[in-house]
Symmetry: C2
Subunit: 346 residues, 2 copies
DNA sequence: TTGAAAGCGCTACCAA
DNA sequence: TTGGTAGCGCTTTCAA
């Protein structure tokens, strides 16, 4: 009678006429063993098509080779790009990725976190939901030995490691560029300031405008959510102003899409009638008509850096109690969606 | 001294003054136990914040609650949408998703498949890479008790369950519509015919054109890959024809994007100069200027159906040896990217 | 209705 | 350099 399930280490041991312990040592390249033993084990393993059972390994406290990725939204190209990049690099490190999409719902977020803990993931990449706060649980996880890296948004200032964009610098570049073009009425459309992205992009905007000696006009500052719908709504309100802006800075790619759509609908052309600049680069922006000027964020670098960091935490190569925080460079990608305001002569 | 790790079933048992066996039975609602026992266990579990260790459960042959999703590409909105939809529904079923992006590389594909087996996933949603063939391994997995559902593309005809689009009907609707508008020279740009999507969209196109009594013009049939780059290349070639088409049918969303981009670059306006229709709906198509007419595919339904099917396989509710294959309805979404050909009068 | 005990596949300790 | 053995946390007979 044939054995039913997958071959176990015992089967390999038998075939190689060795003990399971030795086989384990060889397979994991831990401890001592002879050249001959090595060969015997490898042949036997190959013959049986043996693959270690991760569950059993996991039970013994070894790595599960699983990493959680908790993100709010998969309709946002920023997150799909991050997921894609992370997944690809992780695979090289011999980790696999469990994808958790929270829809910015703190309940779901917590449920996912619990699950990741149960599953004994080796670590997690985490973007917190806009509202709500599962800090306690996050901290408990870290204390229980599961490193967590905050990606893109940072909630737990000085509690968790993080890899973020240099939002301030990104905003500065856009505003400086728009100012240089001659714009004086530059609107900002952004999301909740309860995220670092929202907060930093807002304060960055305010600082640059004021530094330029321009009084802040609250009518031009639209803070809502990082969604396409809000982009549409906000741009509508902006256009209905008695003194509308000559340029719009949309603080993320979802908002940008909404802005572009509404502008299309209202038959306002870019950049002739109004200039538009975004934050986050994405394929469709480069292909849009006209191509959209935006702050490019280095997604691959972000993924690589996050993984490096997490990996060093997992391997205990990095043990600093103090959280590490990286800021990634950004760069303004100038395309064709901005020009001098109408009636401006330089 | 405090206990270090997470609480185990033994801790709960102690707190509840019961045996681990009983606690297990209560927690899993299996076998008999009294009301009182139930309460004791639940209280103890709550107090200790006990969560079962999936690894240990997995070892005992129970479900890992993990599902693999193997897809070729995360820059294609079709797959991100499927991933998003699947993830959200799976979560409700208490499954989690391991995301595997193969980049259409059969090596990676196989590596992922092996890994999924090692990890003891309960099942997998699978879209095969365009080239290469890991059928043997897939079959072995199925035989080993891991159900696999082919999604979108079907390689293993009559070997694996599958959930696919009704490609033929989709093509028919587009072509009929274009024909009705008066187009006689309709080009097709599509990907490799080694996928069912590629094959069925091509043969569908050929059939409809011929049925309309129009001779097939090989110059108008562009078969390359389902990529943006190919879309750009193909549309260029088409435009350079001495007798270019009046309408283009782009057989997936990546190709459509390429087509649109190139048309923009060459300053050809849609639909005035040429009509464009796509396959796969996506947000950017509805927001594009002009909004793009396309074949809408029911992603949520596809996800739901796939999960139903997989779930029934996992629970052995469905045991038919014969693979099940579903075809999902599609519907033409008429927007503004098509009109009568220039110089046509009805 | 409950508990004792065996073992899932693996690793790690200690002894040989 | 190798092998015996004791668990990891859980489920599941089988007895009580």
């Amino acid at each position: 009678m044939k054995k039913k399930g997958a071959p176990t280490i015992v089967d390999v041991a038998k075939l190689a006429s060795l003990s399971p312990a030795t086989v384990s040592r060889v397979l994991n390249k831990t401890g001592y063993f002879s050249e001959e033993t090595l060969n015997k084990v490898e042949n036997a393993a190959k013959e049986l098509e043996y693959f270690p059972n991760m569950m059993a390994q996991g039970l013994k406290g070894k790595s599960s080779h699983l990493i959680g990725l908790v993100i709010p939204d998969l309709s946002n190209v920023f997150y799909t790009s991050i997921a894609s990049s992370l997944s690809s690099i992780l695979h090289k490190y011999d980790y696999e990725m469990i994808l958790c999409v929270t829809d910015d719902d703190p309940q779901k977020d917590l449920a996912y976190l619990r699950m990741l803990k149960e599953i004994c993931v080796d670590g997690v990449f985490y973007t917190h939901p806009v509202i709500g706060n599962n800090s306690d649980y996050l901290l408990a996880m870290v204390k229980a030995g599961i490193p967590i890296i905050e990606v893109n948004r940072q909630r737990e200032i000085n509690l968790l490691d993080s890899v973020l964009h240099d939002n301030d610098r990104g905003v500065q570049q856009v505003i400086t560029y728009l100012l240089g073009l001659g714009h004086k009425r530059i609107a900002l459309i952004s999301g909740s300031t309860s995220t670092t992205t929202g907060l930093e992009r807002l304060t960055g905007y305010q600082n640059k405008i004021m530094q330029a000696g321009i009084a802040l006009d609250q009518d031009l500052i639209k803070i809502g959510s990082f969604s396409r719908a809000y982009g549409e709504q906000a741009v509508s309100e902006l256009l209905d102003l008695s003194n509308p802006p000559t340029a719009i800075f949309a603080a993320n790619n979802r908002i940008t899409l909404g802005v572009l759509h509404m502008l299309n609908q209202r038959n306002i052309s870019i950049p002739e009638d109004i200039s538009v600049a975004g934050f986050d680069d994405s394929e469709w922006m480069s292909v849009w008509n006209p191509p959209i000027t935006t702050v490019g964020v280095a997604i691959n670098e972000m993924a690589q850096l996050s993984i490096d960091l997490l990996h060093r935490r997992i391997t205990k190569e990095l043990t600093s109690e103090k959280p590490i925080s990286y800021r990634l460079g950004v760069s303004l990608i100038i395309r064709e969606s901005c020009q001098q305001p109408a009636g401006f002569s330089s």
